[in-house]
Amino acid sequence: MTIILVLIIIFCFGLIGFKLSAFYINRKKFFSSLQILLSNLELDVSFSQDKLKNLIQKNNKNLTSKDLNALCQNIFNLLDKKQMIDYEIFNDIKILKKEEKDLIFSFFNSLGRLDAYSQSKEIKSYQNKINEFYNEANDECKKYASLFIKLGIIFGILVCLLII
């Protein structure tokens, strides 16, 4: 009985740790997916030159980050209603800092306003900035994601020791 209780406590604290680390994992996933999205958009704008709405919908299917999925869906919904992009696109996204939101907003707001050649160049310039965010998120993920899981398990063990 005690062993089961110990396991449950450790599992619960481990889960809390995992949930906290998920924030950093999701941030890394978000920026990694955003990098892929930007590369795809750059190619599509240069070659297929399809409407932005269709490009976002098409590329959204292949993204692994749920947060970026939600962001793209919000953008698609606005474009579909012929409305300008605003900060409401970040409504369901809690993992981004203000400066990151500002840059991503400025990127999506600038999309579709230029001819294909200039648009492609502009996407490339944003790619550099997104790469910086990705590197930062990756470093944070390496540092904190495993730390929170480990801390969760250690806290679990400590609580077990205190109880027993």
């Binding site: 399809d50 409407k51 932005l52 709405k53 474009l79 579709g112 001819d115």
Partner: protein, 303 residues
């Protein structure tokens, strides 16, 4: 579609305070009052609808113009850049937005247009029976006659063409008609609701040369209809088609037969290629029929 492109305020005024069916043009110029043309007459737009008083008129600004162009391109300027290079954007329902701004060139080629300063939104109309005044002059027992529709800009050439094609089908002339619609104006795109009859094929957004070649090779047309011939290449395409035994009806900008004759590229056309000339004007509003002329430019008198 047009309402989606305009700002909410402008859209509400046009929807609820102006007879949209009578609206033919909206002129939007940076820092100038917005002007609409109804039955050929200009009016300012104000909060209550139309006005002749400039003090109550609504003024356009750069942001308004940018937003309209951006929305008209479906938030994708790059996807309509070929149209922008030619100075317009077509909406799905055949509405054409003419653009003015700074043209960006590279190696003597137009690359794009930026800093838009003026928009001319033209709303297509289908005026039933408009072409009947000249129908019997163009269509006879011996078949169709190669015809040139002449009018100044905005005087109803395209509307005439549209109705003529419709009337052919309506009057049981079972002829395969192919429309070379360079700017998507005649047929007006997929969702225009324009009825061109049951014998009509449309090739859109290509040059006349490409369109004529493609259509003669693949569609076996009896009649080719096209808008606004404007240079020697267009004329050559027309001649090639006529030499293939296909009848052609085209339009051209001119306000009189004399003006037409003065056009350089027209001088080079072999004589009598066109058997009929239909002259339209704005004298009593767009689409005023001024008469039909034969191949020797003699007016056909109707009894």
């Amino acid at each position: 579609m047009l309402q989606e492109v305009l700002s909410e305020k402008l859209s509400n005024i046009i929807n609820y305070k102006i007879a949209f069916s009578e609206l033919s043009e909206i002129r939007i110029r940076k820092d100038k009052p917005i002007i609409v043309f109804i039955k050929g007459q200009p009016y300012y737009i104000c909060e209550k609808g139309l006005t002749c008083n400039i003090n109550s008129a609504i003024f356009a600004n750069k942001e308004m113009i940018d937003d309209i162009v951006y929305k008209a391109s479906d938030f994708s300027i790059y996807s309509v850049n070929e149209q922008i290079k030619q100075g317009f954007i077509m909406l799905e329902n055949g509405v054409r937005i003419g653009l003015c701004g700074s043209v960006v060139t590279e190696n003597n080629q137009i690359k794009t247009m930026i800093n838009w300063t003026s928009l001319n939104i033209r709303i297509p109309h289908q005026i039933k029976n408009m072409s009947l005044c000249a129908f019997d002059d163009i269509v006879s027992e011996n078949g169709l006659k190669n015809t040139l529709i002449i009018s100044p800009p905005g005087a109803g050439k395209t509307t005439f063409l549209r109705d003529f094609v419709y009337q052919l089908s309506e009057n049981n002339y079972c002829l395969n008609v192919c429309i070379i619609d360079e700017r998507g104006e005649i047929a007006g795109g997929d969702n225009s609701g324009i009825n061109l009859g049951n014998f009509c094929d449309v090739i859109s957004y290509c040059t006349k040369k490409q369109g004529f070649n493609q259509c003669i090779r693949s569609m076996n047309p009896s009649l080719i209809v096209t808008d606004e011939i404007g240079n020697e290449e267009d004329c050559n395409s027309l001649i090639d088609a006529m030499n293939c035994g296909v009848k052609v009806i085209a339009t051209i900008h001119a306000s009189s037969i004399e003006e037409l004759k003065r056009k350089k590229f027209f001088e080079k056309l072999p004589q009598y290629y066109f058997e009929r000339y239909v002259l339209l004007s704005n004298r009593e509003g767009p689409g005023t029929y001024e008469g039909t002329y034969n191949e020797k430019f003699a007016k056909i008198v109707k009894w």
